[in-house]
Amino acid sequence: MTRLGLILSLLVLALFGAALVVGPASIGPVDSIVALIGGDGGASTLVVREIRLPRAILAALIGAGLGMAGAAMQGYLRNPLADPGLIGISGASALGAVIALQTGLAVQSGIGLPLAALTGALIGVLLVLALAGPRGSSLTLILAGIAISALAGALTSLVLNLSPNPFAANEIVFWMMGSLADRSMAHVWIAFPLILAGTVMLATLTRGLDALTLGEDAAEAMGLRLNRMRMILILGTATVVAGSTAVAGAIGFIGLVVPHILRPLVGARPGRLLWASALGGAAMLLASDLAVRILLPARDLKLGVVTALVGAPLFLHLIHRTRREGL
């Protein structure tokens, strides 16, 4: 493992540990670890195992998935401004979730909302594949993503617009900001297989992404199967985004900012950036979720708001630096 990989792994481990010991219930660090491993069946075991552990696992999983998907998307499109939301799946799955909230499906069953979000994502993927599947190009992929995002956004607004009472609308708006509060192991079991499958698919792209540094023509002549690669990219990203959005709502900026920060540290090689961004994404989302709990513990600060608040200025700084370097 490279030095960067080691540093990032240690950072993720440290933040994961911190996520287990920080929270509104005042349980000391040592007591938290004891409660997690020992499990005396008391209140602190319940808090650490049922509240903090799923939350920490989800933050690490979703962060890693979104970071990797962002790096893959940027590498494939050879554009540092690409992001996993680009193919429209986050919009489509948010629409599914919003419909579940609106119809009361989310209240009837704990996993009603995630399932509705996954259904939305599936419809979104089928649309993207139909528009930019086997014989598309990177441009049709971007356009298809924009069209699906716009359509899903319009339908989400329609649901909000027709919402019969302000409380439902309020709930929808809060959900859309993205959060990991009050998630259970059931949520982990929904997100885990999806994000794992998605990252495994994306991880097969490392060679192809490196080759694409030379452009599509040269890469294809070197033996790269571009059409197959695009299919894997769409399916892998969609699976990651669907799994994330279904349990945590829309969390922006991880997939955009993390690859951007780490790119200079891996010598700009798109293949290596994939792994670095997975670790970096996990670290950033764990840190953001810690910030949510530490900064305003009483006010239910939303995770998506924090990632955007941290991500946007960071991104502005990066753009400024890029411009100064004339790159």
Binding site: D217, A221, M222, A268, P270
Partner: protein, 252 residues
């Protein structure tokens, strides 16, 4: 040994026939220049022969499986793209990809190929530099070095020397000629007829969708062909320094 074989080969784009009835073979040790006016279909011919765009008829390269093709031919497209600010040796190392299986590290042979490619293109000093910060001509040389590192029996390049300074134009053509002397083949499209007649062992002239002439430069060039195909008059003469070709003026 034939490294590229085309027969009954043609390309139709958007219902318009661009090329038809193309047939030629390229053997080992040849430096073949593909010449013709703008729009004659030089790039189309090369991309179709590689199987990157659809075609009719037979092309020995397009018939290969993608993974085999990367070991049979190295392709340098006209658009010089280096998408990320990676260093020079990383770009050149990408040429070794077709020889490595997934997840495999570079072996000593791979590193030797990269070193020798860097040296042939005069890039050894620049190997740690960020490729995207180099000048256009230097980037072109980096990309040529990538195709050299690929160590394929055939190297195909679309206008590889456009935008290089005269010294690097000549040294690049000499690098190609040296490859040909060692038994590998090079197929390049060129606009500089002077360099084409001087360095190529064979020229293929295409115009209006077909091959109009094919053979060694000395036997091939006639004032008539030059006027008909390129619409110019030219002076050329066999000198002790080799064949010299100088375009003069647009034919009326």
């Amino acid at each position: 040994m034939t490294v590229l074989s085309l027969s009954g080969f043609g390309v139709t784009l958007r219902g318009r026939p661009i090329l038809r009835d193309i047939a030629f073979d390229i053997g080992g040790g040849e430096l073949v220049g593909l010449i013709g006016p703008n729009g004659a279909g030089k790039t189309t011919l090369m991309r179709a022969a590689l199987g990157l765009i659809g075609s009719v008829g037979h092309s020995s390269l397009a018939a290969l499986a993608p993974a085999q093709r990367g070991r049979a031919v190295a392709w340098l497209p006209q658009a010089r793209e280096i998408a990320w600010p990676v260093d020079v040796q990383t770009v050149v190392s990408l040429g070794r990809m077709p020889h490595m299986s997934t997840g495999q590290r570079m072996t000593g042979a791979d590193r030797d190929a990269v070193d020798s490619a860097l040296e042939q293109m005069g890039l050894t000093e620049l190997r740690q530099r960020t490729a995207t910060r180099l000048s256009g001509g230097e980037q072109a040389r980096v990309l040529i070095a990538r195709t050299l590192a690929q160590e394929t029996p055939l190297l195909m390049a679309d206008e590889p020397i456009a935008g290089l300074d005269p010294a690097h134009q000549i040294s690049t053509m000499e690098t190609f000629a040296e490859l040909a002397r060692k038994g590998r083949s090079v197929f390049v499209s060129l606009h500089d007829l002077g360099l084409a007649v001087r360095h190529c062992t064979r020229l293929i002239v295409i115009d209006r969708g077909g091959v109009v002439a094919d053979g060694p430069p000395r036997a091939l060039l006639s004032p008539d062909l030059i006027r008909k195909t390129f619409g110019i008059t030219a002076w050329f003469q066999d000198t002790p320094e080799g064949l010299v070709f100088q375009p003069l003026e647009v034919a009326t």
